[in-house]
Amino acid sequence: MDWSEIFGPDALVVLLSTSVAFAMPTALAAVGETVAERAGVLNLGLEGMLLAGALVSFLVAYYVGSVALGTVAGVAIGVVLGALMAFLSVSLRTEQIINGIAIVLVAQGITLFVFEKLFGGEEQPTIAGISDVEVPLLHDIPGVGPVVFEQNVLFYLSLALALGVSLLLTRTRFGLSVRAVGESPAAAEATAVSVARTRWLALLVCGGMAGLGGAVLVLGQLNVFEEDVSGGRGWVAIALVIFGRWNPLLVLGGAFLFGFTDALQIRVQAVSGGIASSVPTEIFGALPYVVTLAVMVAATVLAGRDAQPAALGVPFRKGVNA
């Protein structure tokens, strides 16, 4: 195998720009999950939100023909599922783990059912891809420019939101409330921060980000919908949050590592002859998951001090947790 076909100067730009694009759905979901968990809610429904965002955005784009409306619809369904999670976990204070898993199972069942009902037996429906846009000036930056600034519009939107929501935690009053509510809700409530309101908002943000992730995956990259199209990215995102120690920038870094190994394994498969290769393709397919988890586990073990929000997963009832 000729490694210069992968790591040569031109090939490397292709590899890296695919990496960041591939990373985006996971990155969005992971940053959203970070917000939810910093507020003290473990949202295991992420995979379901991603999947629902993917289907709904695909259907709107397919039938209406508008990628923009599709994206909005994807975000909207994510917010709706975030609201469902908030209603169950925050308002009714039921077990968060069960709620999350239920949302994933329901989303998996319904998306498959709807998709089969609409397109079962037909040829796989596709939508037109969206073209890349070069950002003036920025794409001339050597190295970074061709990798980051020659992507499609959804990529730019995602990048801005991923970074923006990361800053939300440290730079806004809402972020301060989120951090307080996830750490000691009783103290937050005593200083006029509504725990319920803050957690609701955090879950809406989380759902919206996951829904957008689904939209970006389908509309910005694959242009098709298929069973289990999210491919466990939601679960990877949850793992990234834990291994990224609830620090949104570390979590983003983890997501890009995931995108990189994903892009790399596809490239290696292509260069080494794809299916004809003696190595089973499943090995390559598993690579991003294995590498990302290995690196993040190592990072966690080395990091030492516990960073988990103290009230993560614990429902709050006024006057009881005080």
Partner: protein, 536 residues
């Protein structure tokens, strides 16, 4: 700044006929309370007397069912603490309402109204203002420090500072001295005095008579939700106050201590050590060192007190001794037998008893009945049946007997243990533990949070157990308890035993100094040599 509030004008509080019910329980049955600007007012009472409830009403946590609250002559109806804060009321809760992972300044900004962005400039301005207020009242606090890095005393100053920053002129402190070192307590009150001198009204809730007599201008005593009286410290003695609190004569520490000193002279001859600990090292929950090189021995018929401020390794010591926490180095032996690796069941069998500091978590099972809790360490063998069968009748019989002997106030043996008050829960734990054949008892914070009556009971039980020949290790943060009970006393500071004294050299001030980390100034005998000389 809120326009409705005049930040400098001194205003008093007048609460009249305040009634508060929680379900069937009447917490306050028509209480009058008045608080004047410029005074430090102590609110004294046993647990459950209604002190905190009364103050929570003043702070707007919940409205009274009947009666009125007036500030500066105007009647107030607070819907939330925010309303009370706007009227210049501030409260420092017993369990601090601070987010440990945030900085001091962030804790102050939290919940504040304002634009969506949290600007660095704003935080810097708040920090500066906080530093100014801190300077003015001598509450040295670094606004940029993260709360988890601060000591308990510092966190309390943060709470006071936050209340003052928000414009409090009526300051409520709930049990402010419960977790402080004696030195920190002595630092706190002069600051409160300075506040009062500027026209603020300060009220503190307590059941420590000592604090009341030393620092209060006036004292209001509550009992069972009624006001017993309001008086000045000069008009009353500690025993008067104790009687007002409890409603009967209380035999306080002097009595217990007096009995003990009699038995102490009787037992002057040295006895063989029962519990021996050498070179103990262990980590805390966060993986940080909690105990290092801890060594001591406790002889039959003596109480060795381990004094110290909370957070210096006491829970870890308690857990390691009972086999609930792994130790990294060191040995523990009981009656000459090495039990370093023994599990709790074996230690129990060999005669080690534990009165755990967290009585609801370690001392009993909340979901089981009082009767089941009383015998659970003996189930599975005669006389309570076999491993396959529980003789319910025998359980009930023994439980009834223990309930009577230890005066546990329950509706019946079937009441769930989780519903017991602190004092009764502790009676249950003592009843179970002391009704076994014991050689050694580890009593960790045995009276923490209890009212005077229950404290008295616990002390009597410990003294009686010691006189029966038990070796007792008393881990305590309460200096009164240590002074009254200890035959020997050592001090734990940052996981090390830093000082040790025999009973006749015990000095309140020196123990207090050592608890605060100034062991060298306390000029005590080095621990290792003291232990060695005792064992030789």
């Amino acid at each position: 700044m809120n326009a409705s509030r005049d930040g400098t004008r001194a205003r008093g509080v007048s609460m009249t006929g305040v009634v508060k019910r929680f379900g069937p329980v009447t917490a306050l049955g028509g209480v009058d309370f008045d608080l004047r600007p410029g005074e430090i007012h102590a609110l004294l009472g046993e647990n459950g007397a209604g002190k905190t409830t009364l103050m929570n009403i003043l702070y707007g946590m919940f409205p009274p069912d009947d009666g009125t609250v007036a500030i500066g002559g105007r009647e107030m109806r607070f819907a939330s603490p925010q309303d009370a804060i706007a009227e210049g009321v501030g409260m420092v809760h017993q369990h601090f309402m601070l987010v440990p992972t945030l900085t001091v300044a962030e804790n102050v900004v939290l919940g504040e109204r304002g634009g969506p962005l949290l600007r660095k400039r704003h935080l810097a301005a708040v920090s500066k203002q906080l530093a100014e207020v801190a300077e003015r009242y001598g509450l040295d606090v670094d606004p940029g420090a993260r709360v988890w890095q601060l000591s308990v005393g510092e966190q309390q100053r943060v709470e006071v500072l936050r209340a003052l920053y928000k414009g409090a002129r009526i300051l409520i402190l709930d049990e402010p001295t419960a977790t402080l070192t004696p030195r920190e307590t002595e630092r706190l009150f002069p600051k409160l005095r300075a506040l009062a001198a500027e026209g603020a009204a300060v009220v503190f809730i307590t059941h420590h008579l000592e604090d009341v007599i030393s620092w209060a201008d006036r004292i209001t005593v509550l009992r069972h939700g009624e006001r017993v009286g309001t008086l000045r410290p000069s008009e009353s003695s500690a025993s008067d106050l104790a009687r007002m609190m409890v409603g009967r004569d209380v035999r306080l520490m002097q009595v217990v201590a007096g009995e003990r000193s009699v038995s102490g002279t009787k037992e002057a001859r040295p006895r063989e050590p029962v519990l021996r600990v050498e070179g103990l090292r262990a980590k805390g929950d966060r993986g940080t060192p909690a105990l290092s090189d801890v060594g001591f021995s406790v002889a039959a018929g003596e109480i060795l007190a381990v004094a110290g401020v909370e957070g210096n390794g006491q829970p870890e010591l308690e857990e390691v001794l009972y086999g609930l926490r792994a130790r990294e180095a060191g040995r523990v032996s009981l009656d000459g037998r090495d039990v370093t690796y023994a599990d709790p069941a074996e230690r129990l069998r060999l005669g080690l008893g534990l009165v755990p500091s967290n009585r609801y978590r370690r001392g009993l099972i909340r979901e089981l009945s009082v009767a089941e809790n009383l015998v659970m360490d003996r189930l599975g063998a005669a006389p309570f049946g076999s491993e396959l069968r529980v003789d319910r009748r025998e359980v009930a019989r023994q439980a009834k007997e223990l309930i009577e002997r230890f005066s546990i106030r329950v509706s019946g043996p079937d009441q769930l243990a989780g519903t017991l008050s602190g004092g009764n829960a502790q009676r249950l734990v003592l009843a179970r533990t002391l009704s076994r054949e014991l050689r050694c008892l580890v009593a960790a914070q045995p009276t923490r949070g209890l009212d005077v009556g229950a404290i008295e009971f616990v002390w009597e039980q410990l003294a009686a157990a010691r006189d029966r020949g038990l070796a007792i290790l008393l881990i305590s943060t309460d200096l009164d308890e240590v002074m009254g009970m200890a035959d020997r006393c050592c001090v734990i500071y940052r996981g090390r035993l830093v000082a040790q004294w025999p009973r006749d050299e015990l000095d309140r001030e020196r123990v207090g100094l050592a608890m605060g980390g100034a062991a060298d100034r306390a000029a005590a005998a080095p621990v290792s040599s003291a232990v060695a000389s005792r064992e030789s």
